[in-house]
C-alpha cells in the first residue's frame, strides 16, 4: 500500500489490468463444467429431431433403457405430466415444453433425454431409441410462413403471424405526401449467433425434503426468466435455487436460452432421485441453442431534395423460429425507441409482424435486434446519397440530431441522454484520416480495382427498460399491469480485519466487470482495486437479485456499477461516522485514501481503514447510536427515467444511448470475389469510461463479431427446413486472419442519467460493421441489393456477370438460384447388357431388388411394390445403419418407373424420388435416371460439404449393382465416367 499523500490515487477512468486474469491465465478458472458435483451425479444426453416439422407417431425407448449405464429415459410424456409449458411474453395458444410433445417443429428440437452413469454411455443409448415421425409440410422462409396458406407451426394459434402491431408517431403520412423523394429498400438480415466457446452446462439436484431444485447453470439472466423456469417446475421462485459460477466461457446473450434445459434436467433429477448433469456439445449448440432472429425490413424514407429525412416508414417481419421463448420478441422491441437512429426525424410509422417458422427458436444474441434495424436504416441513408447524388457522409451529417438538443426525445420515445454527434463525426473524419482513405480509394479505382467506402452512424442503447416489451400490448392492455424500470443490487461487505468483499447481480460473461466493481468500490473507500475481493458467483437463495438481474443489454456500467457505487457510499458513510468519532472531527471532514481514514484538513489525524471497520464488528456498543453493527451494505439502483410506455406508445427503451460513427474502405478481388477490409475506423462516444482497457476489449470483440456477420456467419437452412451449419467448419467464426485491426477513436460526453456518467458499450460494433461493410461493397460495385454475409459466391454473382458458356455441343445444367434449397439432384445413364424386360423383372422382384439396393441386409414386402428394408450406407469410412422404405410407382412396363422412398437412422433422414427409364439399345438396355433427394438431420448439419458427392456415389452404386444383377459387367456411363474418359483417366 503506498503511503504519502493518501488521497492521490483514483482508479475509475484508469486502464486497470483485470483482476480476473491471473486465475484464467493459469488454467485455474472455475467454469461450470470444472466445479465439483455431488457423488452419484448422472449425465444426460439428448436425442434431437432430424425433421423440421413432423408428428411424433411413436417413441420406443425399451432398447435404450436396457443399455449399460442407463438409469432413465424421458420423453415428452413425462415432461407433460410433471411440468407446465413455459410461460411467454404474449398470451398465445402455443405450448413450449422442455421435450417435444406430440410434434417436432425444428431440426435439433429435444425429443428424448437419456440419463446414464456417464456421457459416453448416455450417447451410446441414443442410437437405440426408435422414433417414428410423420413429416409435415414446413414453413422456413419468414415471408412464406406469413402467407395465409402456409403450414401452421402451431395449429392452435391459427396463424404463424402471432403478433401484428402498428405505431404512428408525428405525421408520417403527411411527411411522405409532402416529400420531394421517397427512397425505399427491402433488406434481409440473416440468422446468426455469437456462439460462446463454452456451451450450456446444467447440474440439477432435486431435494425432496423441501421440494426444492438446486441447480448450477451457466445462466446469464435476465432473471425475468427465473419465474419462467420456476412456474414450469410448478414451484415458487424460492424453491428454484439457481447458482451461477464465477467464470463463464462467454455469453453474448446466448446463455439466456439455457432455461428449457434447467427444467429438463431438474425434472430428470426428480425422477431418478440423483443429480443430473448435462453439458451441451457444439453440434447441439449450433443446431438447437439460439439464433438472433432473421428479419425482413421494408424501409421507406421521406426525403427533401437536399437529403433531409422527414419520416421513416418501417415494415418489419421478424422470424422467431419454432417457439416464442421468453424474453422474445425482445429483438423487435428493444430498439423501438431508436428506430430513427441518431437522426432528427420527427415522423415515424412502424408495422411490426412477428412470424414463427420451422427453425431454431430465436433468442438473445449480442446486438439484440439492433444490427437488423441499423442494416435497414444505414443502407437506406446510403441509397438516399446515391439517388440524390449526394455524398453519403453529408446525408448522415445533415440528418444528425444537432448538438445542444439533449436530452432528446426521439419520435418513438427514447430519451437520448447526451451527445454531440456533429463533433464526433468531425473527430472521426479528422483523426481517422478520411481524406487519406478517399485518396486510397481514388488511386485504386484509377488502377481499375474494385474499391469502396462505407459509412454508418448508430445509437447504441444501454440498459434495457424492463417495460419495453409491453409496447407490444395496447395501451388498455398495459394499464392493468404497467411495467417499466430496471433494478440492480450490489452488496459491499467489510469483515473484521478490514477486508472488503463485493457480491453483485451482474453474472459477468468475461467482460471484466469484477475489475470495474473493484475500481468503483476502491475509489470510494480509499483502497486499491486488488484489495477488493469481488465474488460474482450468484445464488438466488442467498444473494440479492431482481428480475432485471443479469448480463445483457450493455447494462452493467449504468446499473450494477451504480448499485456498487451506492453500496460503497453507504459503507463509506458508516465508516466515516465511526472514524469521525475517533478523529474527533465531523463526518463531512473525513477523507479516505491510502488505506486510511483521516481528517481532511489534517491528514496526519488518521486511523487505519481496518480499525474503523473492526470497531463495527468487535465493539458495536461503541458505535454512534444511529449505526447498526457490522459493515454490510446493499446498494440499490433503479433509474427513474425508465418508465412504462405512454398511452401514445412512446417508450424510453433504454437508459443510456451512446453514439458510434464508423467508416471503412474495402477492396474486392476481381477474380476470387473475396472482400477484404482495408481500413476500418470506429468512433465511440460512450460517456465516461470506467476502464478504457475494458472498453477497448468490448469494441474489439464486438468488432470481431461484426466482421463475422458481415462476411462469414450464417445459420443456413434448406428449403425443407434441414439445418446445414452444424459444425465450426460450416458455421464460420472469423479467426485472427480474418479480423483486421480497427482504428478506435473516442470522445466522452457523460450521461446525466447515471452517477458515473458511463454508457453501455458492449454491442455497438456488431451493429455498425455489417452495414458499414455492406455500404462499402455497395459503393465499390454500385449495387443496391447487398446481403450479408458477403460470401465470395454472392459477390461473384454480382461482379462476374454472365457465366462463360459451356463449350459448343454441351448443355449447361439448369441454373439454380442462390438459396433455392438444398435438394440434391442428379442424373445418369448406365448401359446394361440385358434386355429391358430383364431389367424390369429385376426391379420388380423383391429378392433381386434386395441385391441391388446398396448395403441391404433385409427387405420386407409391405405392399404392392412397397418395401421396408434395413440398409447400411455410406461413403468411405462414413457409414450408417438406416431403416429404408422403397416404393415403385407409375409403372410403365418395361419402359419407366418412379422409385421413391426414404431413410431414417441415427445419422439423419432422407426422402427422395427418381424416375428410371429403360430403352433397348445395342442388344442391351440403356438405363437412364434422374433423381432428387432431400437430406436432413445430423448428416446434413455436419456433412454438407460431402452430401452432393456422397449421394451421387450411392445412386451410382445402385445402378451398378442393377447392371451386375442382370448379368453385368456394368458399363457405367454417368457424367462422371464420361468426364474421366474425357480427361484420359477413366478406370
Amino acid at each position: 500500500m503506498t503511503q504519502g499523500h493518501p488521497q492521490s490515487e483514483k482508479f475509475v477512468g484508469q486502464p486497470v489490468e483485470r483482476l480476473e486474469d491471473a486465475a484464467l491465465l493459469m488454467g485455474r478458472g472455475r467454469y461450470a463444467d470444472d466445479l465439483p458435483i455431488r457423488v452419484g451425479t448422472l449425465h444426460g444426453a439428448i436425442l434431437r429431431s432430424p425433421h423440421a416439422h413432423a408428428e411424433i407417431v411413436s417413441i420406443d425407448t425399451s432398447e435404450a433403457e436396457a443399455r449399460p449405464g442407463v438409469v432413465a429415459v424421458l420423453t415428452g410424456d413425462e415432461i407433460k405430466e410433471l411440468t407446465d409449458p413455459f410461460i411467454m411474453v404474449l398470451k398465445l395458444p402455443l405450448q413450449h415444453w422442455s421435450l417435444a410433445v406430440e410434434r417436432v417443429r425444428f431440426v435439433g428440437e429435444s425429443v428424448v433425454l437419456v440419463v446414464a452413469e456417464d456421457r459416453y454411455q448416455a450417447e451410446d443409448a441414443l442410437e437405440y431409441i426408435k422414433v417414428e415421425y410423420k413429416p409435415l409440410p414446413v414453413a422456413v422462409d419468414p415471408r412464406d410462413a406469413a402467407k395465409e396458406d402456409a403450414p401452421l407451426i402451431h395449429p392452435a394459434a391459427g396463424t404463424n403471424v402471432v403478433s401484428v402491431r402498428n405505431f404512428n408517431y408525428g405525421e408520417p403520412d403527411k411527411a411522405f405526401a409532402e416529400a420531394d423523394h421517397t427512397v425505399e429498400l427491402t433488406i434481409e438480415f440473416p440468422r446468426n449467433s455469437q456462439t460462446p466457446m463454452e456451451g450450456y452446462v446444467v447440474v440439477a439436484d432435486y431435494l425432496p425434503g423441501n421440494n426444492t431444485y438446486d441447480v448450477l447453470a451457466n445462466f446469464q439472466g435476465p432473471y425475468t426468466v427465473h419465474p419462467v423456469m420456476a412456474r414450469s417446475l410448478r414451484v415458487s421462485g424460492s424453491a428454484l435455487r439457481i447458482r451461477t459460477p464465477q467464470d463463464s466461457g462467454g455469453g453474448f446473450g446466448v446463455k439466456q436460452a439455457i432455461f428449457p434445459y434447467v427444467t429438463l434436467m431438474s425434472t430428470a433429477s426428480k425422477i431418478v432421485g440423483r443429480p443430473v448433469k448435462w453439458v451441451e456439445d457444439r453440434l447441439e449448440h449450433l443446431s438447437a441453442a439460439v439464433a438472433a432472429p432473421n428479419r425482413v425490413i421494408h424501409l421507406e424514407a421521406a426525403v427533401t431534395k437536399d437529403g433531409k429525412v422527414t419520416a421513416f416508414r418501417f415494415d418489419q417481419l421478424d422470424d422467431y423460429g419454432a417457439y416464442l421463448r421468453a424474453p422474445m420478441p425482445g429483438p423487435l422491441y428493444r430498439p423501438h425507441g431508436c428506430l430513427t437512429g441518431p437522426y432528427f426525424i420527427p415522423n415515424l410509422s412502424v408495422t411490426n409482424r412477428l412470424v414463427l417458422t420451422n427453425k431454431t427458436p430465436s433468442g438473445m444474441v449480442r446486438g439484440f435486434g439492433c444490427p437488423q434495424m441499423y442494416f435497414a436504416i444505414e443502407r437506406v441513408m446510403q441509397c438516399i446519397a446515391v439517388e440524390l447524388d449526394l455524398d453519403p457522409l453529408d446525408v448522415i451529417s445533415r440528418n444528425l440530431i444537432p448538438a445542444g438538443s439533449f436530452p432528446y426525445r426521439s419520435a418513438a420515445g427514447a430519451i437520448y441522454d447526451s451527445g454531440d454527434y456533429p463533433k464526433a463525426l468531425e473527430i472521426a473524419v479528422e483523426e481517422g484520416d478520411l481524406k487519406e482513405l478517399k485518396e486510397r480509394r481514388d488511386k485504386a479505382r484509377a488502377e481499375g480495382r474494385l474499391y469502396g467506402i462505407g459509412y454508418c452512424a448508430v445509437i447504441e442503447p444501454g440498459q434495457s427498460n424492463m417495460g419495453y416489451l409491453s409496447t407490444i400490448l395496447t395501451a388498455e392492455e398495459r394499464r392493468k399491469n404497467p411495467k417499466g424500470g430496471s433494478v440492480s443490487q450490489v452488496t459491499v461487505n467489510v469483515e473484521p480485519l478490514g477486508g472488503v468483499s463485493v457480491t453483485a447481480d451482474c453474472m459477468p460473461q468475461g467482460q471484466g466487470q469484477g475489475t470495474a466493481l473493484a475500481q468503483i468500490v476502491a475509489d470510494e473507500l480509499g483502497l486499491k482495486p486488488d484489495q477488493i475481493r469481488v465474488n460474482l458467483e450468484h445464488d438466488t437463495q442467498k444473494d440479492a437479485w431482481s428480475i432485471a438481474s443479469g448480463n445483457y443489454s450493455s447494462r452493467f456500467v449504468s446499473s450494477t456499477a451504480i448499485a456498487a457505487h451506492r453500496a460503497a457510499q453507504k459503507v463509506r458513510a458508516k465508516l466515516a461516522t465511526i472514524a469521525a468519532q475517533s478523529l474527533n472531527v465531523s463526518e463531512e471532514k473525513v477523507s479516505f485514501g491510502g488505506g486510511q481514514i483521516f481528517a481532511t484538513e489534517n491528514p496526519d489525524n488518521a486511523i487505519k481503514f481496518h480499525r474503523a471497520a473492526g470497531a463495527a464488528h468487535w465493539h458495536p456498543g461503541s458505535l454512534p447510536t444511529e449505526l447498526e453493527a457490522g459493515v454490510r451494505e446493499i446498494g440499490v439502483w433503479a433509474p427513474p427515467e425508465l418508465d412504462s410506455p405512454s398511452d401514445s406508445d412512446r417508450i424510453n427503451t433504454s437508459l443510456t444511448y451512446g453514439f458510434k460513427i464508423d467508416y471503412c474502405g474495402i477492396e474486392i478481388d476481381p477474380d476470387t470475389a473475396e472482400v477484404r477490409i482495408d481500413k476500418y475506423v470506429t468512433m465511440h462516444d460512450t460517456g465516461k469510461m470506467i476502464n478504457p482497457l475494458l472498453v477497448r476489449g468490448q469494441i474489439e470483440g464486438s468488432f470481431g463479431w461484426g466482421v463475422g456477420i458481415a462476411l462469414y456467419e450464417e445459420f443456413v437452412y434448406a428449403e425443407d427446413g434441414s439445418f446445414l451449419s452444424g459444425t465450426f467448419a460450416d458455421y464460420l467464426c472469423p479467426t485472427a486472419c480474418e479480423v483486421p485491426k480497427p482504428v478506435i477513436l473516442h470522445m466522452e460526453t457523460p450521461s446525466p442519467f447515471t452517477p458515473l456518467g458511463a454508457k453501455g458499450i458492449g454491442e455497438g460494433n456488431c451493429m455498425t460493421v455489417p452495414v458499414c461493410v455492406a455500404n462499402a461493397v455497395s459503393d465499390a460495385l454500385d449495387v443496391r441489393d447487398v446481403r450479408v454475409p458477403l460470401t465470395p459466391a454472392r459477390v461473384s454473382a454480382m461482379i462476374h456477370g454472365e457465366e462463360a458458356a459451356p463449350p459448343a455441343g454441351r448443355a449447361a445444367p439448369a441454373a439454380k438460384a442462390e438459396g433455392a434449397g438444398r435438394a440434391l439432384a442428379g442424373e445418369g445413364t448406365t448401359l446394361v447388357p440385358a434386355a429391358p424386360e430383364e431389367v424390369w423383372k429385376t426391379l420388380l422382384d423383391a429378392e433381386k431388388l434386395a441385391a441391388v439396393i446398396p448395403g441391404c441386409h433385409r427387405l420386407d414386402v409391405v405392399g404392392d411394390n412397397d418395401y421396408r428394408a434395413e440398409v447400411t450406407l455410406g461413403v468411405g469410412p462414413v457409414k450408417g445403419r438406416f431403416q429404408a422404405s422403397v416404393r415403385l410407382a407409375e409403372l410403365d412396363a418395361p419402359r419407366s418407373a418412379t422409385l421413391s422412398g426414404g431413410l431414417d437412422g441415427p445419422l439423419g433422414s432422407s426422402r427422395g424420388s427418381g424416375r428410371v427409364r429403360l430403352e433397348a439399345r445395342d442388344g442391351g438396355t440403356e438405363v437412364s435416371y434422374t433423381y432428387t433427394v432431400e437430406v436432413t438431420g445430423k448428416v446434413a448439419a455436419v456433412g454438407g460439404r460431402m452430401l452432393d458427392g456422397a449421394t451421387r456415389m450411392l445412386v451410382r452404386q445402385f445402378f451398378e449393382r442393377l447392371a451386375a444383377q442382370v448379368g453385368g459387367p456394368p458399363v457405367h456411363e454417368s457424367w462422371w465416367t464420361r468426364l474421366l474418359r474425357a480427361l484420359g483417366i477413366g478406370q
Partner: protein, 273 residues
Amino acid sequence: MKPKGFDYLRAASVEEAVDGLKEGGEEARIVAGGQSLGAMMNMRLVEPELLVDIAGIADLDYLRAENGALEVGAALTQAELLEWSGLAEQAPLLHLAMPHVGHFQTRNRGTVCGSIAHADPSSELPLSLAVLGGEVKLRSASGQRTLAASEFQLGMLSTARRPDEMVTAVRFPNPRPGQSFAFREVARRHGDFAIVAAAAVVSDGHVRLGIGGVADRPTVRDWEALEGSALDDALNEFAWDLGGHDDIHATARYRRELVRRIGRRAIEEARHA
C-alpha cells in the same frame, strides 16, 4: 459428442499393423494423426470396431529423397514435412501447398499419408500428389503394391485401398529441370478446406493444371502451351467438365468461376516463377 467404443491397437511395426487390419477386417481403421478421423468418430459418422494406431511405428517416420521422388512415410507429420529444410528445393509444389493444409496445430499431428488416405476432394495434399503424378505405397499382410495417385483416389473419401491394406508411404516425384510451380487456393477462412485449389506445373511447351474442391476428387489436365483466348477456352471447358456442386460455402457456378480465374492465375504465376 463422444465416439462409440472401439478396441485399440498401438502397432509397434508395420507387420503388427497389417495383422491388426487382417484381423479387424472391414471394421478396422488405421489412425495416424487422426485429425479427420477423430472428428468424424466424435460425431459418430465413423464407428470402427478396431483402431490401429501407426503413429508410433519408427519405420514409417521418415522422409527421404530417392529414385527421383520424395518419399514420405506414413508416420511423418505435416509439420515435419513443412519444416523440412529441403522442401523448397526437393518439392517446390509442396512447399507452396503445405501452408494451406489445416493449421499449425493440426499439422503438428496430422500426417501426410493420412491426408492422402482420407481422400477428401478438397484437400491440398491429394491434389499435389495427383498433379505431380505421384504414387501411393500400400501394404497388407499378404504383400505390397504401389498405385499411381490417379488409381488410388477414386472419389469422395474413397480409395482403391483394400480393407486389409494400409498406406505405408507416398512418393512425390522430384521436380524436373525446367518445371516451375504455383499453388492457389480460395477458402472461406484461412486454413479451411478449399472451395477450389489450383496447382499448376509449367514447363517448356507444356501446362498441367490440377483442381481440387470441385469434382469428387482432384482432377488433372494437361495442355500444350496455351495462351490468351485458347487458354481461356481450355479453362472454360475444364470448368464445365468438372461441373461443381452447390453447398453452403459456395455455388457450383462460383466454383467454375474460380477454376477459370485462379486456374489462370496459377498458370501465369508458375510461368513467372
